[in-house]
Amino acid sequence: MPAKFISFLKDQGEKVGDQVHFLGSFFRNTFKKGFEWNELIRECYLIGYKSLPLVAITGFILGFVFTLQSEPTLKAFGAENYLPAMVSVSLIREIAPVIVALICAGKIASSIGAELGSMKVTEQIDAMEVSGSNPIQYLVVTRILACTFMIPLLTIIADALGLLGGFTGINISNKVSAVLYFNKAIAALDFTDFIPAFIKTFFFGFAIGFVGCYKGYNSGRGTASVGMAANSAVVNASLWVIVLDAVAVQLTSVLAYH
């Protein structure tokens, strides 16, 4: 039993070492000559623009459903006036960043994991390496940076559409003008709501891109390993989003409120 435990610890230690090495390669190659600008733009298009419909619909529905669910409770306390403020603070501080990141972990991390995994299986990554090209710079740096920059943008769009969903939800049972609703929603927000939530989305994006690339780039050689790479990319990226969110919330409360 102790031997098994030691072997388990050794395996985990090796995995962490591999990830640290991969992270080091990412940073080294980000600042190396010959940055792949065209590939970065292409990845931003694929990761950002192509995820837009999914994120937009989800954002709108989140705001809409959240409003419909909260309204009866607030009404019971005679506090329905606070509904726009509650929707905006909840959405912008927590719900939209985390839900967008989790959706993107499912959509983007799996797609990167499967793409790089299949390139590994079909020896395309080896072909790049052996020709003297730099696959980390071309495949990994561009994807991680595209995720890091696109997730915050997608979150802002989800925030805006979530507020619009909330406005639609309120107007199902009440008649509230757009000016009044958005004035109340925005007045409830200050920088400590918006800025920390915005900053943490960069870390979510980085984690999604990094996990997807690491799992795909280091997948096995068989076809089954492509599926495993995609699957473990989603699971690990989602877990990282939750862990980073917990850390971010704790840091925010320490820095902003004390």
Binding site: T122, E123, S133
Partner: protein
């Protein structure tokens, strides 16, 4: 001297290679995956300008050997020098430069499937050689596609190509960097006999045109007959016999003989 030895490692090449430059030197090379030792002490030399065919049954470590030469796999013991540089001791940038002298044709062709044929050939020119002049890039791509007889496929995607066409494009993409050494990993596997013969003849033709030294991993005897200046037969991770096709054809060794039947 040309020799055939039974279950003995060959360390000498043919008579006419003794005074030629050694481009790849391998001595007592060992490589394991976990407890399974795949290469068990291979010794071989590749001389400048020669086509060396490595024959052996599947799973004997032939592909592992050329992946070690290309620096894609680490080896545990032994010496592996390309142009006098020990591959294992090269730093990242030195290895990248050493690889520019090597070309590797993968079994599947390993074409980048999200790019057209033109982009596949353009990729190493812009990334490795740093070419920026559009006319020069186009000229080189056209010349190389013409050499492999697939100029018409320039705007096609890899998924639209047949197996033979993929191998040709893979060859063109590798040769566009003008490597001094080519490593072929089963270049005719999965192809019909006519296409196999065409690919084998193309390899010889391009070797003469670009003065390349080659290591060809295969178990296709027609390919070996067309391409080989010298053949080494491998079993259980080491070489058991070596010589020209004609000499090995007469071998009394049962395993060697089984390839030529």
């Amino acid at each position: 001297m040309e020799t055939i030895t039974d279950h003995t490692t060959i360390t000498t090449g043919p008579a006419n290679t003794n005074d030629r430059e050694v481009v790849i030197e391998i001595k007592e090379l060992h490589k394991s995956f976990g407890d399974h030792e795949v290469l068990t002490g291979i010794t071989m030399d590749l001389y400048k300008g020669e086509n060396l065919v490595v024959l052996g049954r599947s799973g004997q470590g032939k592909s592992v050997l050329i992946k070690c030469i290309a620096g894609l796999l680490d080896y545990h013991e032994g010496i592996l020098k390309v142009y006098g540089s020990e591959i294992k001791e090269l730093k990242e940038e030195e290895l990248r430069k050493a690889r520019m002298k090597l070309g590797f044709l993968f079994q599947s062709g390993a074409l980048y499937d999200s790019m057209t044929v033109r982009e596949n050939l353009e990729f190493p020119l812009t990334r490795v050689l740093g070419l920026t002049d559009k006319n020069e890039i186009d000229e080189r791509i056209n010349e190389m596609l013409d050499s492999v007889g697939l100029l018409d496929a320039i705007d096609k995607m890899p998924s639209d190509l047949s197996g033979g066409m993929r191998k040709r494009i893979g060859l063109a993409r590798t040769l566009i960097l003008k490597p001094e050494i080519m490593l072929y990993d089963e270049p005719t596997t999965g192809l019909d006999p006519i296409t196999s013969k065409e690919i084998s003849e193309l390899m010889v033709q391009l070797q003469k045109k670009y003065k390349i030294s080659s290591v060809i991993i295969t178990h296709d005897m027609d390919c070996a007959k067309i391409t080989a200046d010298r053949i080494l037969v491998m079993n259980n991770g080491k070489y058991i016999a070596g010589g020209t096709y004609e000499i090995l054809e007469q071998s009394s060794n049962a395993l060697v003989n089984s390839f030529f039947k």
